[in-house]
C-alpha cells in the first residue's frame, strides 16, 4: 500500500491542485486579492503538465479566453474576487447560453466596489445566483475547508462538463488563505467526468440538438472537423441566431431545466447533529465551521441543535431545507452579509417554521461565542 500523500496546503493552492487533477489545462486570469495565489500557482504548475497559463489584460478578457479555450476542448478555469466577479458576469452569461463548460472561482472579499480587499465576507451569494442578466439557472459550490476546496474544484469541473454550463466555486477569503493539513487522494480513485462528444458524421452534427432523453447536447471541439457556429444570441439547434419566440422559449427553458431538473444529482449538503435537533442553523463556508463549534458547546449545555450546510449553494437544497423546516421549531441562518441566503431559506422554510438570521459585515468572522450568545438569548 502506497504511503498517504499528506500535505500542508493553502486553500487557493488546493483549488489549483484539484483543478489539475480534474483535467484543467488552461487558465486565464487577472491579479486580484484575495484570489491571486490561484493564478500564481497555475502559472507555475500548468506548463509542467502540458497546460497553458495566460495573464490577460483584464477580468473580462480572462473569462473570454477561458470560454475560447473550452471551445477547443480544453478544461479551463479563471479565478477572481469582488470587483472582478462583477466583470466576469458578461462572460458567465455567454457560457450559459452557448453552453460552454468552464469554472469560475470567486474568493470573496468585502464589497460593494473595492470594499474590504483583504477581509472575509459572504456578500456575493446573490450575485453568484443572479449576477448575469436574463433568465438562467446556475451551479455554485461552496467549500468550507482546504480539503473540500480540492474536492469541490474537481466537482465543479465534473458538473460543468456534465451539464455544459459554467460552474461557480465560491470561497471565503479565510478559506482561500488558510493552510491546513490535508490528505490528497490517489488520482486513480477520483472520478472525472468529460463532456460528451459527437460520434456522428460531421455533416449530420447539429451542435445544439439534444438526443432522446438527454437534455445536454454533445459538444464538438473546434478543429476536429465538426464546423459549427457558436453565438451568444438565442439560437436554433444548428447554433444559428433566431428571433423566433418559440425557439427562444424552448432554448431558455431547456437551459434552466437541465440544472433544475437534476437538482438531486447536483445538490450536496452536510448534516451535522441534526437527527434529534429541535432547532437548526443553516450556514456555509467558513461560517459553518464556527457554527459547528458553537453547536458542540450548546449540546454540552443540553440544547438539541444541529447544522445543515449547503455545499451546493445554487441550486439551493430545497428538499433538504423543507424537510428540516418541518421538524424543527426554528432555523437560524448565519452568514457574513445582511441576510442574502436567509432570503432563500425563508422562501422555502418560512411557511413551516420560524426563520431568523445572524449577520455580520464588518470584515470579521462570526465567532462560535457570537453564535452561542445569539442562540441562548433568543
Amino acid at each position: 500500500m502506497a504511503d498517504k500523500n499528506i500535505v500542508l496546503m493553502q486553500g487557493n493552492e488546493a483549488c489549483v491542485e484539484g483543478a489539475i487533477v480534474a483535467g484543467m489545462r488552461f487558465y486565464a486570469g487577472y491579479p486580484i486579492t484575495p484570489s491571486t495565489e490561484i493564478a500564481e500557482v497555475s502559472a507555475a504548475k500548468l506548463p509542467k503538465v502540458g497546460g497553458k497559463f495566460i495573464q490577460m489584460e483584464d477580468e473580462i478578457a480572462s473569462i473570454s479566453a477561458v470560454i475560447g479555450a473550452s471551445l477547443t476542448g480544453q478544461k479551463a478555469m479563471t479565478a477572481t474576487s469582488g470587483p472582478g466577479f462583477s466583470l466576469k458576469q458578461e462572460g458567465i452569461g455567454y457560457a450559459i447560453i452557448a453552453e460552454v463548460p468552464c469554472v469560475i472561482v470567486n474568493v470573496q472579499r468585502g464589497g460593494p466596489s473595492t470594499g474590504l480587499p483583504t477581509s472575509p465576507a459572504q456578500g456575493d451569494i446573490m450575485q453568484a445566483r443572479w449576477g448575469t442578466h436574463g433568465e438562467h439557472s446556475i451551479i455554485a459550490l461552496y467549500p468550507s475547508t482546504v480539503k473540500e476546496v480540492f474536492d469541490m474544484t474537481i466537482r465543479a469541473f465534473n458538473l460543468s462538463e456534465k451539464y455544459r454550463t459554467p460552474v461557480i466555486l465560491l470561497m471565503d477569503e479565510v478559506v482561500g488563505h488558510m493552510r491546513e493539513k490535508i490528505e490528497l487522494p490517489d488520482p486513480e480513485d477520483i472520478e472525472i467526468y468529460n463532456r460528451k462528444k459527437p460520434s456522428c458524421d460531421p455533416g449530420e452534427y447539429l451542435a445544439y440538438k439534444v438526443k432522446d432523453q438527454d437534455i445536454v447536447p454533445e459538444m464538438a471541439s473546434i478543429g476536429e472537423g465538426y464546423r459549427y457556429h457558436v453565438t451568444g444570441l438565442v439560437h436554433d439547434e444548428f447554433g444559428f441566431p433566431s428571433n423566433d419566440g418559440n425557439v427562444a422559449e424552448k432554448l431558455i427553458t431547456r437551459l434552466v431545466e437541465k440544472i433544475e431538473n437534476n437538482i438531486d444529482d447536483i445538490v450536496e449538503c452536510e448534516e451535522y447533529k441534526l437527527d434529534d435537533a429541535e432547532e437548526a442553523i443553516i450556514a456555509y463556508g467558513s461560517t459553518a465551521r464556527s457554527v459547528k463549534t458553537a453547536i458542540d458547546t450548546l449540546r454540552e449545555k443540553g440544547r438539541k441543535i444541529g447544522l445543515l450546510r449547503p455545499i451546493t449553494i445554487w441550486p439551493s437544497p430545497k428538499k433538504q431545507i423543507e424537510s428540516l423546516a418541518k421538524r424543527v421549531k426554528r432555523i437560524v441562518v448565519v452568514e457574513m452579509n445582511l441576510g442574502q441566503y436567509y432570503l432563500e431559506v425563508d422562501r422555502i422554510a418560512g411557511k413551516f417554521t420560524n426563520v431568523i438570521k445572524l449577520n455580520r459585515v464588518n470584515g470579521e468572522l462570526i465567532s462560535p461565542r457570537d453564535i452561542i450568545s445569539f442562540i441562548e438569548e433568543g
Binding site: 457556429h229 451568444g232 444559428f240
Partner: protein, 269 residues
C-alpha cells in the same frame, strides 16, 4: 467565380445576409474568403471569431469553425482559442466600435503579445447596428445620432494604434480596392504573429445619410479619391497629405510569436 466561392465557403442556407443595400461589408467578406481560397487552407483548420455589430454577423455566414462572441471581446476569445490550439488559423472579424472602443484594451494587448491572429476591421466610421452613433473612427466634426452638433472627439488612426501596440503586420485597404484586401488578408494569415488589417468600408444608410455623403457609388468614389498608396503618400509634401488616407502595407516587422514563446517554457519540463 463568385458563386463558386459562395458554394465552397458560405453557409448558403444562412443567406441572404442582414446588411443594407449599398453596404460594403459583402466586398470585405468576399475578399477574406478569396484570400483563404488562394492560400488553400483546410476549412476545418480555420476559426473565424467575431464580436458584435454589423460586420461581426459575418461569421455566421461562413462555413468554418465560427464563434460570434460578446461585444468587443472577439480578440480575447480568439486568444483563448489560438493559445489553446495553436494549429488553428484564427481570423477575427470586427468593426471600428467593436475593436477600438469597447474592445480597445483587447486590441492593444493582443498586438503587444504578437499572438498569431489575423484581425480584419471593417471600418465604416459609425455604429451601424444600433442606428448611427459616432464611433472612435468617426472623423472629428462629422455627425452621428449621438453627435447631433458634430463629433468633438479626435478620431483614431487604427493602423498607427496597432503598430504602436506591437502588431507585426499592419495594412489598410478599402472596399474600392478589393484586390488589395485579398492580398493583405493573405499576407496577414501568412505572417506568424499579430496581423492587423483595416478595411475602409461604407455605410450609406447611417454614416453616409447623416453626413450627406451621397449614395453608395458616391461613397465608393470618395474612397477612391481620398486614398493614396503608402509609398506615394510618404513622398508627398506635408501640405498635400491633408485629407489623404494612406493605404497599402503600413508596417511589417519580425518578433517572436506568443504561442511559440510559451511552447519554449513548456519544453523546460
Amino acid at each position: 467565380m463568385v458563386s463558386q466561392l459562395i458554394d465552397k465557403y458560405f453557409r448558403t442556407e444562412r443567406l441572404p445576409h442582414i446588411w443594407c443595400p449599398g453596404c460594403g461589408n459583402g466586398i470585405v467578406l468576399r475578399s477574406i474568403v478569396k484570400a483563404i481560397d488562394n492560400l488553400g487552407l483546410n476549412k476545418d483548420d480555420v476559426c473565424v471569431v467575431s464580436g458584435i455589430g454589423c460586420s461581426s454577423r459575418a461569421s455566421g455566414y461562413l462555413d468554418f469553425n465560427t464563434v460570434h462572441t460578446t461585444h468587443g471581446r472577439a480578440l480575447a476569445f480568439a486568444t483563448g482559442i489560438k493559445f489553446s490550439n495553436p494549429k488553428l488559423h484564427v481570423i477575427v472579424i470586427t468593426g471600428d466600435g467593436d475593436c477600438s472602443a469597447i474592445g480597445g484594451n483587447h486590441l492593444i494587448h493582443a498586438a503587444r503579445r504578437n499572438i498569431d491572429i489575423t484581425t480584419i476591421v471593417f471600418n465604416n466610421n459609425i455604429y451601424g447596428m444600433t442606428g448611427g452613433q459616432y464611433s472612435p473612427t468617426t472623423p472629428t466634426g462629422d455627425r452621428g445620432t449621438t453627435a447631433p452638433y458634430g463629433n468633438i472627439d479626435y478620431n483614431f488612426d487604427l493602423c498607427q494604434l496597432a503598430k504602436a501596440s506591437g502588431a507585426t503586420y499592419v495594412s489598410r485597404s478599402t472596399v474600392y480596392a478589393a484586390n488589395m484586401i485579398i492580398k493583405q488578408v493573405e499576407e496577414g494569415i501568412k505572417n506568424k504573429g499579430f496581423s492587423f488589417i483595416e478595411t475602409l468600408t461604407i455605410c450609406p444608410t447611417y454614416y453616409g445619410r447623416k453626413n450627406k455623403k451621397g449614395d453608395a457609388v458616391d461613397m465608393m468614389n470618395y474612397l477612391k479619391d481620398a486614398t493614396v498608396n503608402i509609398s506615394l503618400y510618404e513622398r508627398l509634401p506635408e501640405e498635400d497629405k491633408a485629407g489623404k488616407i494612406p493605404i497599402g502595407e503600413i508596417y511589417r516587422t519580425t518578433r517572436p510569436e506568443y504561442t511559440e514563446k510559451y511552447e519554449e517554457i513548456t519544453k523546460l519540463f
